[in-house]
């Protein structure tokens, strides 16, 4: 059914919001979104966008649903865990059940520098539902190269942040943070925990920005870096607009797309012999094992010496080396290993 002939009754409450109106709704229905990651942020985003009537949504995620996801990943339930469904597929089923008039395309894959352009080139907007910096820098490179808007969001514990990036008009992620923190040096949801409502707040900020942008209301977009802590009840808006052109940004300034060309980012190898995968992060800063061990303590015993740090999680043994590489035992699935690395070592 064409957007013009489609009944808009189901969206009537949204259409009555004067700034959106019928015209804005039809613009949403004509829009295409690439949702990168369908975990905690991603399911909230998918839920909002499907209900709001974004016409075409591609959901990209490499992971399968596990019980400990259900605390915050709102589209999934115990039946999905029992069926061992990929997140992208389960999300697509729920989204179609919520709104059969939109098109949902699940893509079960590891988003990387070889496939990202294919997966986001036809989108009007890229949304960040990822859990790691490596993929965010990759999205940033792709978005800047293609001149496409994207919305960054991230949550740890009760804290979250988000910003809307319009390449050429606003600072990009690398204007703000030029280099990704070294692996192992930032908390992750697996080491520091995460609260569902905090994720829902940040994802809702991303979703409302998406609705504004796709319905043609760029004037209403957020131009700041938004940082919230729902436990401490602190809200901050950092004015960042003046960074554009002021910093020597390797990405949007010098057009040096190091993550997209594959020169940055991790490299995985299935190791000969063992049921093990080596994830090598191509970054030279040596890790601080003592600090890392403190962060990982909630998981159980963490042993380390000058050469390596070892811990176990989810039945996998992790051996992390000073240059950020890790050998993850108990799997030979590269996607799984990359997920585990992002979740426990961090990238």
């Amino acid at each position: 059914m064409s957007v013009e002939s489609q009944s808009l009754d189901r969206y009537s409450r949204q259409i009555r919001f004067p700034q959106l109106g019928e015209e804005g709704q039809r613009a949403l229905l004509r829009s295409r979104v690439a949702l990168c990651g369908c975990g905690a942020l991603g399911t909230v985003l998918a839920n909002h966008l499907a209900r709001a009537g974004v016409g075409s949504i591609r959901v990209i995620d490499r992971d399968f649903i596990e019980t400990h996801n259900l605390q915050r990943q709102i589209l999934f339930d115990e039946q999905d865990v029992a069926e061992n469904l990929p997140k992208a597929e389960a999300a697509a089923r729920k989204m179609r059940a919520i709104n059969s008039s939109i098109t949902v395309e699940p893509v079960v894959t590891d988003l990387d520098h070889t496939n990202i352009l294919d997966l986001v080139s036809d989108a009007d907007l890229i949304l960040d539902g990822t859990d790691n910096f490596e993929t965010r820098y990759l999205i940033n490179d792709a978005a800047v190269k293609l001149g496409k808007p994207w919305i960054y969001g991230g949550v740890i514990g009760s804290e979250g942040q988000t910003m809307t990036i319009l390449p050429g008009e606003t600072p990009c992620l690398r204007c703000l943070i030029e280099t990704a923190p070294p692996p192992g040096m930032t908390p992750t949801c697996e080491t520091a925990g995460v609260l569902g409502p905090a994720v829902a707040v940040i994802a809702s900020f991303e979703a409302i920005e998406a609705i504004k942008l796709l319905s043609g209301h760029r004037e209403a977009l957020n131009k700041d870096l938004i940082m919230v802590d729902l436990w401490d009840w602190t809200f901050r808006q950092l004015k960042i607009a003046n960074l554009l052109g002021k910093v020597d940004c390797p990405c949007c300034g010098r057009k040096n797309f190091e993550w997209l060309d594959g020169s940055m980012g991790s490299h995985t190898t299935t190791l000969c012999g063992r049921n093990a995968v080596q994830v090598a992060a191509r970054r030279p800063e040596p890790l601080d094992f003592a600090d890392m061990a403190r962060r990982l303590t909630p998981l159980g015993e963490v042993r380390h010496n000058a050469f390596m740090l070892r811990f176990a999680a989810e039945g996998h043994e992790f051996t992390v080396f000073p240059d950020g590489r890790a050998i993850i035992k108990g799997t030979n699935d590269i996607s799984k290993a990359r997920s585990l690395y992002a979740q426990y070592v961090g990238s």
Partner: protein, 384 residues
């Protein structure tokens, strides 16, 4: 970086190899034999020079019996798949690299051949075991000249005689020996010899060779057919070697590098090159004997050893962790794991973790080995 992974591929290459590659790529990189112009002729001459060099170095029957291949695996596949017929019995060993064992197991699973895999003793295959395994249906004995895991050189002379007397074909994988163990095809009854060019012959990756002896004439069927540069009017592949088995544009640049590499080996002599590597390994063996918990895999006999050696890693270390530690903290490259040869690791009891293998080359020094051993000592202490 201290590079001790020459059994995987040699690095660095001798200077004349780099020079030959550069010179050839700049002046003569045409398609050989297809056009007749001067550059095509220069490329064709390089192929001829390469075959002549191989034939002289290994004392083959004729230059045209040398087939240029992609690598060792390619040559072994051409040999194995070209020679066996339905119902054949093939004898092999537990020392083999997957490049021999996988094609054979695939043929066995497809019901084409029956397969006997002989067990080695301390890294050596006993000739009597081959004698006992051969049946009237045996058409092929396929085995490695030296274990890529252990570095042990196999007694192929008596085995070749046994196979020849039984009337079967003898295929030798010389990946670890070509360039360091003299091979004289005039006196050694080997029918098929395959090796890559990028190990101890110091060529680049992407080039290898297969020798097809006279007994294989008419038996070795091509499984890759295509352009051969001459005889283009024939609807089928030409019968004559080497073109029968060389469909497609060959890697002439690789041949140029390989030819220069063999010339360099000839100038040094295979014996001297092998002794240099074995002398370096003696330091490792002595260290392991004095160590607490480190063991050499297989029997150490310097006279029948090439420059590869496996160490069995004591608990709680694992080969993979150790490889990563040596790389990240000490800048030393070795190879942990199964080395694409799972059967010998099962035999040694080192499956599935494997061992760590070090394989020095002609440019390594005693200092390199001592640095490696100091690193092992330091890691062992830190882990205990």
């Amino acid at each position: 970086m201290i590079y001790l992974d020459n059994a995987a591929t040699s690095f660095p290459k001798p200077e004349p190899v780099y020079e030959a590659l550069d010179r050839f790529a700049r002046t003569s990189l045409a398609n050989p034999g297809r056009a007749g112009h001067r550059m095509a002729i220069a490329a064709e001459e390089q192929l001829d020079a390469g075959r002549n060099t191989l034939n002289r170095f290994f004392r083959g029957e004729a230059p045209e019996r040398w087939i240029f291949t992609l690598n060792g695996t390619d040559g072994l596949n051409i040999a194995i798949k070209g020679i066996v017929r339905p119902g054949d019995h093939v004898v092999t060993t537990d020392l083999e690299h997957n490049s021999v064992s996988r094609p054979l197991v695939a043929l066995e699973k497809a019901g084409v051949i029956s397969l006997t895999r002989l067990a080695s003793e301390d890294g050596y295959l006993l000739p009597d075991a081959v004698r006992a395994a051969i049946t009237p249906a045996t058409t092929l004995v396929a085995m490695t000249h030296a274990s890529n895991v252990l570095g042990t050189v196999q007694p192929i002379e008596p085995i070749a005689t046994i196979v020849r007397e039984a009337g079967a074909f003898f295929l030798v994988d010389a990946a670890q020996t070509a360039g360091v163990v003299p091979i004289d095809l005039r006196s050694l009854p080997v029918d098929l010899l395959a090796f890559p060019g990028h190990k101890a012959l110091y060529g680049p990756t992407g080039i290898g060779a297969l020798y097809a002896g006279p007994r294989t004439d008419g038996r070795l069927r091509p499984w890759r057919e295509g352009g051969t540069g001459g005889d283009s009017s024939s609807p089928t592949q030409p019968q004559a070697l080497p073109h029968a088995l060389e469909g497609g544009t060959p890697n002439v640049l690789g041949v140029a590098g390989l030819t220069a590499g063999i010339a360099w080996v000839e100038s040094r002599g295979p014996d001297e090159l092998r002794c240099h590597e074995v002398d370096l390994l003696r330091r490792v063996v002595a260290w392991a004997d004095d160590s607490n918990g480190w063991r050499i895999a297989g029997r150490w006999d310097p006279e029948t050893h090439v420059g590869a050696l496996s160490l069995i890693v004591p608990d709680p270390l694992t080969p993979q962790d150790l490889g990563a530690i040596l790389d990240t903290s000490f800048d030393i490259a070795i190879r942990p794991g199964l080395h694409c040869a799972p059967y010998i690791h099962r035999r040694l009891g080192t499956y599935p973790d494997g061992t760590i293998r070090l394989s020095p080359g002609p440019f390594n020094t005693p200092d390199d080995i001592d640095a490696f051993l100091r690193a092992l000592s330091e890691i062992t202490v830190a882990m205990s």
